[in-house]
């Protein structure tokens, strides 16, 4: 039972794609996306708006109740809710979302129903009202009530009792700042504006149609408004150029996603440096650096291949790690054992390197690509060497002490000297070869110069 702290809306929810005891995949999706999917699967988007809103409140509260009472987890299951319409609510993986429903959910994904003095999300039981009737909410009934002029709250009270209330704007569990509580508009000044500017500029590296905001100065000027509007157009929000709650949280979500991937790659670099030889076999219960390495590779692969589950890098070969290993083995045609032997390990590393080095041109925006997965040394040639030389020569043009390096694609003595010079200047062990630590330092310096100092590769 939660204590007297106001429940937070979770970042994501794990859905079992079938009845609880049926063998089926689990998928983890961002919470608002889950609500949009369920609302698009349970009801018709042509219904009157007040009925849609009441239904969205029901769907949201139902899911939050499952999460906060730990209904499935406390029974030993590794998911929060199922997609079974008999006991939970419909969820169809990969389905289309109706635009009007999407907007309505964006405005109220952190509102939920409470009953009496309770602060916990209410278990908003429902049925369709035609082929099944129940003591709770009737979906078709809500349409009639909405057509009769009732508000969403009145509709909910009609089915759940007069002592029903809605908690509006519950806190959202996430990194970073919450919505300031009022929309940010043209002319506003302050830290919240600066946060939006920084986040939009980072997102615009991936989505170049969003214009860059020249100065992240905390002043909401015309270029900030233009960037906000373009973001709204791309991400299906009302393009009014104002940062309301829905816009604030969507910007946050994308920025956090982009940042998580960067952080993940950085973490991986640090792990790589502790290149421990693979211990022949890793299985449930194992702990340590080798497990962290494994989890890192699987986490990166989950980005490239969204059908693989994400997992925490915690150094413990837990249930989530077993699921991730099994999912990897199944997808890539290995024996599905949940145990990592040399064959599985080799495949993981190979697919990782293939994925990372073949990332299409422009998929890091202006920023440096991630570590290619192997040491770059004198005598090698190829695209990774070209990239290295591009970054070093960009850095060289800024710092007088570094030679400007011609980009030839061949790692000769000039390149080695440039690497040694960089390593000396930046306090890294001078080897003349580029392993993960050196690559990361070069990439970080390059990114900084490009994003902050306006450097360009050519």
């Amino acid at each position: 039972m939660p204590q007297a702290i106001l429940p937070e809306i979770p970042q994501s929810i794990t859905v079992h794609l079938g009845a609880p005891d049926r063998a089926a995949r689990n998928v983890t999706v961002p919470f608002a996306e889950y609500v949009k999917n369920v609302a698009s699967s349970e009801i018709y988007p042509t219904w009157p708006e007040n009925a849609l809103i009441a239904n969205i409140n029901v769907i949201t509260s139902f899911a939050l109740n499952r999460i906060f009472t730990e209904y499935y987890r406390s029974r030993g299951y590794d998911f929060d809710i199922t997609s079974s319409t008999a006991i939970d609510q419909a969820f169809v993986e990969g389905r289309d979302i109706f635009e009007n429903i999407s907007s309505l959910v964006d405005e109220r994904f952190n509102d939920y129903v409470v009953k009496g003095d309770g602060i916990e999300p209410y278990f908003t039981q429902f049925c369709n009202g035609t082929t099944s009737t129940c003591a709770g909410f009737s979906q078709w009934g809500s349409v009639d009530l909405a057509n009769a002029g009732l508000t969403p709250l009145e509709i909910l009270r009609n089915y759940y009792g007069e002592d029903i209330n809605i908690v509006y704007d519950a806190p959202v569990a996430q990194e970073g700042e919450s919505y300031p509580g009022f929309p940010l508009v043209l002319g506003d000044r302050g830290n919240a504006v600066k946060i939006v500017q920084t986040e939009l500029n980072r997102i615009s590296k991936n989505y170049p149609a969003i214009p860059q905001i020249v100065r992240e100065d905390g002043i909401f000027g015309l270029d900030t408004q233009a960037a906000v509007r373009k973001f709204q157009e791309i991400f299906s929000l009302t393009p009014n150029g104002e940062v309301d709650k829905a816009t604030w949280y969507k910007i946050k979500r994308y920025y956090t996603g982009v940042k998580s991937l960067s952080d993940l790659f950085s973490e991986g670099i640090t792990l790589e440096e502790t290149e421990v030889p693979f211990p022949q076999r890793l299985a449930q219960g194992d702990t340590g650096a080798e497990v962290r390495n494994l989890q890192y590779y699987l986490s990166v692969m989950a980005y490239f291949n969204p059908s693989l589950p994400e997992l925490q890098i915690n150094g413990v070969f837990d249930d989530a790690t077993v699921s991730a290993v099994r999912a990897f083995q199944e997808y890539y045609g290995l024996a599905v054992t949940g145990v990592v032997n040399a064959g599985t390990w080799g495949t993981i590393k190979r697919i990782y390197i293939e994925s990372v080095s073949a990332l299409p041109e422009g998929y890091s925006g202006n920023l440096a690509k991630i570590y290619p997965g192997y040491f770059l040394t004198e005598g090698q040639s190829g695209q990774n060497v070209r990239d290295l030389q591009t970054y070093l020569s960009t850095i060289g043009r800024f710092y007088g002490e570094l030679p400007v390096l011609p980009v030839t694609g061949y790692f000769g003595s000039q390149t080695r000297e440039a690497v040694e010079r960089f390593q000396t200047l930046f306090g890294i062990e001078v080897t003349g070869a580029v392993g993960p630590i050196t690559w990361y330092s070069i990439a970080r310096e390059y990114d900084f110069l490009v994003t902050t100092e306006g450097a360009t590769p050519e």
């Binding site: 699967s41 349970e42 018709y44 109706f98 969204p306 697919i351 293939e354 990332l359």
Partner: protein, 162 residues
């Protein structure tokens, strides 16, 4: 040296113009939808939606993939988005009260295909009259797909429990 650089730039510029015309998108300003039709727009992304996939080919079709009846086709822009496809859908009244004798929506199939990525196919996408559907396609890069080169298929053909 300067002249050669200018020639290259002109070539590249011409390429860019051609690309731009390929991805022309109808204006999205007015959201009024023609009678008896619903709208569909498709977003192509990759790496769990962190990056858009421009110049993806989006095909709306009916029937089997191998023998498809093409209803419409478009391309994604720099943000990975198509314009709006307008597709025939049944009368809105069918979904506004219970007891309809037939599904109150039309079903279409969508293929999203882009160089360097595994194709995604969504079957039985419901389209309601007067409503815009947004279909996301988070594509897997070929380099990450191992031997799984076949299209990734999602079947949305669930019946509404209404």
């Amino acid at each position: 040296m300067g002249d050669i650089m200018n020639e290259k730039t002109a070539e590249e510029y011409a390429k860019e113009l051609i690309e731009m015309y390929k991805t022309v998108k109808p204006p999205v300003e007015e959201k009024t939808i023609p009678q008896a039709s619903g709208g569909l727009t498709v977003n192509a992304t990759t790496l769990r939606k962190l990056y858009p996939v421009p110049s993806a080919t989006v095909t709306v079709f009916k029937g089997d993939y191998d023998n498809m009846e093409i209803i419409d086709r478009g391309y994604t822009d720099d943000s990975g988005q198509t314009g709006i496809f307008y597709l025939e859908a049944p009368d809105r009244a069918l979904s506004e009260s219970a007891g309809a004798q037939q599904p109150p929506y039309a079903s279409y199939n969508i293929s999203v295909k882009a160089d360097g990525f595994i194709e995604q196919i969504n079957l039985n996408v419901p389209i309601f009259s007067g409503v815009i559907s947004v279909q996301s396609a988070d594509l897997i890069p070929i380099s990450a797909a191992g031997k799984n080169r076949a299209p990734r298929v999602f079947d949305e053909g669930q019946k509404y429990n209404l």
